[in-house]
């Protein structure tokens, strides 16, 4: 009996050891803009304020929408850092690049008293689907920092198609949509 138990344990351990370890890939969302570029401040000083993501995006997994409408989270393809954090950095750099001015993400500790306009962003949808489409739905607003009045408020909806298979292509497509989104905001900033 004792031999039998030991034999089962050994077999189990051998079996576990024999299972190949899954390969997990992580993707970092970063802008390729030059971080050291010196941007000329315009008349109005603009700051990136709140950047929020939908609850289903507040997760390390990349998301894919299936044919039945369900959302599939990848287990082996993850964001390297929470999307809410990386989006703040990404959008800040893209906006600075596209507007030609330094737009920093305002932290919770900044008073913002030197800021005249604040950009707030809400990402509602950012995922691919089974047909190879990638979709970005986001709302954004410009808020006067002194009076806290909304100067402008719009929704951005855009889709693009995957040119290649794989999650790397999905991340690249999502970056293209975010760049397009940044361009629209930059074009609307007060001069």
């Amino acid at each position: 009996m004792r031999k039998l138990f030991l034999s089962l344990l050994v077999v189990s351990l051998v079996a576990c050891a024999g299972t190949p370890a899954p390969v997990v890939k992580q993707y970092l969302l970063r802008s390729d803009s030059d971080e050291t570029a010196m941007y000329q401040d315009k008349i109005a000083d603009v700051t990136l304020g709140k950047v929020s993501v939908a609850a289903y995006l507040d997760h390390p997994s990349l998301v894919l929408q299936l044919a039945d409408g369900s959302m599939s989270r990848a287990h082996h393809h993850l964001w390297a850092e929470p999307l809410r954090e990386s989006l703040r950095i990404y959008m800040s750099r893209e906006l600075s690049k596209r507007s030609g001015r330094s737009i920093r993400a305002k932290s919770n500790h900044q008073s913002g008293r030197y800021t005249t306009t604040t950009i707030n962003i809400d990402i509602d949808e950012l995922h691919g689907d089974y047909l190879g489409n990638v979709r970005l739905v986001a709302g954004w607003s410009l808020v006067d920092s002194d009076s806290q009045t909304i100067l402008k408020e719009q929704y951005f909806v855009s889709e693009t198609k995957l040119t290649q298979d794989g999650f790397g292509a999905l991340v690249a497509a999502e970056e293209r949509l975010l760049q397009e989104f940044s361009q629209e905001i930059a074009d609307s900033l007060p001069r």
């Binding site: 899954p22 894919l64 599939s72 082996h76 500790h109 190879g132 298979d165 794989g166």
Partner: protein, 535 residues
């Protein structure tokens, strides 16, 4: 045959001369004339006049409707030489017209405000007009003559009324108007020296007298009134005759019932104008006196008199003249209560505006005094400071008696603080005045000197430097927690790691919940669905 001689007797002859019939006839005619004259002669009466102006014995006639009905036989002074007595013989035909109210007056040429009359007498001479009365026939031989023609002929259908006003504004013969139409005349005017009012006897012709009821109001329409209002200048004037001569008009108040029908002899008040009636629409009221020991500043004539907020009358005037005129100044008038005359009207309470209501109100006030009804002086408006007389029940007030001031009833009043804001403010100001402000200011100055000395001390001057150093240290400490500080960065990184760990724990918890055996055995993981490129 006998030879007797016949006796011849000769009868004595009575001689009657025919001429003797003449005196006989004359006697008969004389007797007839005396008897006839006695039978046909009218009554002889005596008429008293103020003056014999225009009256001549044997010439002045007595006329009635321009028909001579008598002749003045004699004119003589009366016993006390204050007038004349005219002895007049009237025709027998007018004897039935001599009644109690038969009137005589001298018609002579007159020029006055009422017009020109009697011009015909400039040539024919004055005469005495007879106006028959409609009363009972009397065996009367003395009459009081009138100096002018009566306004209303005796027997004219209508009503005789009396108007009372505080000042004489209309005269004899002035018209009584209703909506501009002359419906009567003022007959007499007299001044009542006791009540100090003017009384007018007026006559309103029938059928216009039916327009007058218990609630009818009379007002003076003499002349014209000009008033400036926010709407502009407003001119009110009556008929042209009333503008020139004066007169009175009557009518009913809007929204007030007519009241009962009246009889001759009724008395009405003559108001100064129609606006006076609107301001004082009630007919019956009674004067009372309230003794006030407080300052009467703000208590004006016409100020309201109210009972628990319901106006029951008005302040008529302050009887300051009466009280100082009735006594000698003693120098102790500081405790003197000043009588205030008020006028209370029962109609204001919604009860009928009648004499019986007035009596009931008076009785109610008198009985209420026993239950604590008192008058007080209160402030009606804090902004304007206007005051009023306020009646209410004060059960804790000791017994008080109803008094008398001249002809007015004096109602008891409460003295002392009326509780008004103005009085409270005055009390506050009195307390402030009583405060030792000079001592307080001296003490404050002394304290300020001590503070100055304290501030000038070396230790005190160093205090700001110490505070500054402390703040600098505090700033240095807080700098370590700023966004760019290393401590802040470490804290932020730790929080992120903690969040990541918690997410992993969450994921592990969900895996164990789905597959508890996964803690020992690896669970088969389906490969991720790889996104495909669009076709």
């Amino acid at each position: 045959m006998s030879d007797s001689k016949p006796v011849i007797s000769q009868r004595k002859k009575v001689s009657f001369a025919p001429i003797m019939i003449i005196p006989f006839v004359s006697l008969l005619v004389g007797v007839w004339m005396v008897v006839h004259s006695k039978l046909e002669a009218g009554p002889t009466i005596k008429i008293a006049f103020d003056t014999a102006n225009g009256i001549e014995a044997g010439k002045t006639k007595v006329q009635m409707l321009n028909v001579a009905v008598g002749l003045v036989e004699d004119v003589a002074l009366n016993k006390d030489a204050t007038g004349v007595i005219a002895t007049v013989t009237l025709d027998k035909s007018v004897e039935p017209l001599l009644k109690e109210d038969t009137r005589f007056w001298v018609v002579r040429a007159r020029v006055g405000t009422e017009g020109v009359s009697g011009l015909g007498t400039l040539f024919s001479g004055a005469y005495i007009e007879l106006s028959p009365g409609d009363g009972e026939p009397v065996d009367k031989h003395r009459f009081e003559g009138m100096e002018a023609a009566p306004v209303t002929a005796a027997g004219t259908p209508g009503k005789h009324l009396t108007l009372v006003s505080e000042k004489a504004s209309i005269g004899v013969g002035d018209p009584i108007l209703f909506q501009g139409f002359t419906v009567g005349r003022v007959e007499t005017v007299e001044f009542d020296s006791v009540e100090k009012v003017a009384r007018y006897d007026i006559f309103v012709h029938s059928p216009y007298d039916d327009l007058i009821h218990d609630n009818t109001r009379f007002w003076d329409v003499s002349g014209l009134s000009i008033g400036a209002t926010a709407d502009g200048v407003k001119v009110n004037m009556g008929a042209l005759e009333s503008v020139i001569r004066g007169g009175a008009s009557f009518g009913n108040l809007p929204n007030m019932p007519e009241g009962k029908a009246i009889e001759s002899g009724e008395q009405f008040r003559l108001y100064g104008s129609y606006s006076d009636i609107l301001a004082r629409p009630y007919r019956y009221g009674k004067y009372y006196v309230i003794n006030i020991s407080q300052p009467l500043t703000g208590l004006d004539t016409g100020a309201p008199v109210s009972f628990r907020g319901i106006q029951i009358g008005r302040v008529e005037r302050i009887l300051i003249k009466e009280i100082f005129g009735s006594r000698a100044m003693t120098g102790k008038e500081s405790s003197l209560a000043v009588p205030v005359l008020i006028y209370v009207e029962p109609g204001r309470l919604g009860i009928p505006d009648s004499r019986s209501s007035l009596e009931a109100l008076d009785e109610g006030i008198r009985s209420g005094i026993g239950y604590g009804l008192r008058a007080t002086l209160k402030t009606g408006s804090v902004i304007t400071g206007k005051k009023l007389i306020y009646f209410d029940y004060y059960s804790d007030d000791p017994e008080a008696q109803i008094g008398q001031f001249q002809q007015y009833t004096v109602l008891p009043s409460l003295t002392g603080n009326s509780g008004s804001i103005e009085d409270q403010f005055n009390d506050l100001m009195a307390k402030i005045n009583a405060m030792p402000l000079e001592d307080t200011v001296t003490s404050v100055n002394r304290t300020l000197d001590s503070i100055s000395a304290l501030l000038e001390q070396r230790e005190t001057t160093k205090l700001p430097e110490n505070i500054g150093a402390t703040l600098e240290e505090l700033r240095y400490v807080l700098k370590g927690y700023s966004q760019d500080a290393e401590l802040y960065q470490e804290l932020n990184s730790s929080i992120r790691s903690l969040n990541s760990t918690l997410e992993n724990v969450d994921r592990l918890t969900r895996t164990l919940s789905d597959q508890p055996s996964s803690i020992l055995f690896s669970t088969p993981v389906n490969p991720d669905i790889v996104p495909k490129a669009a076709p």
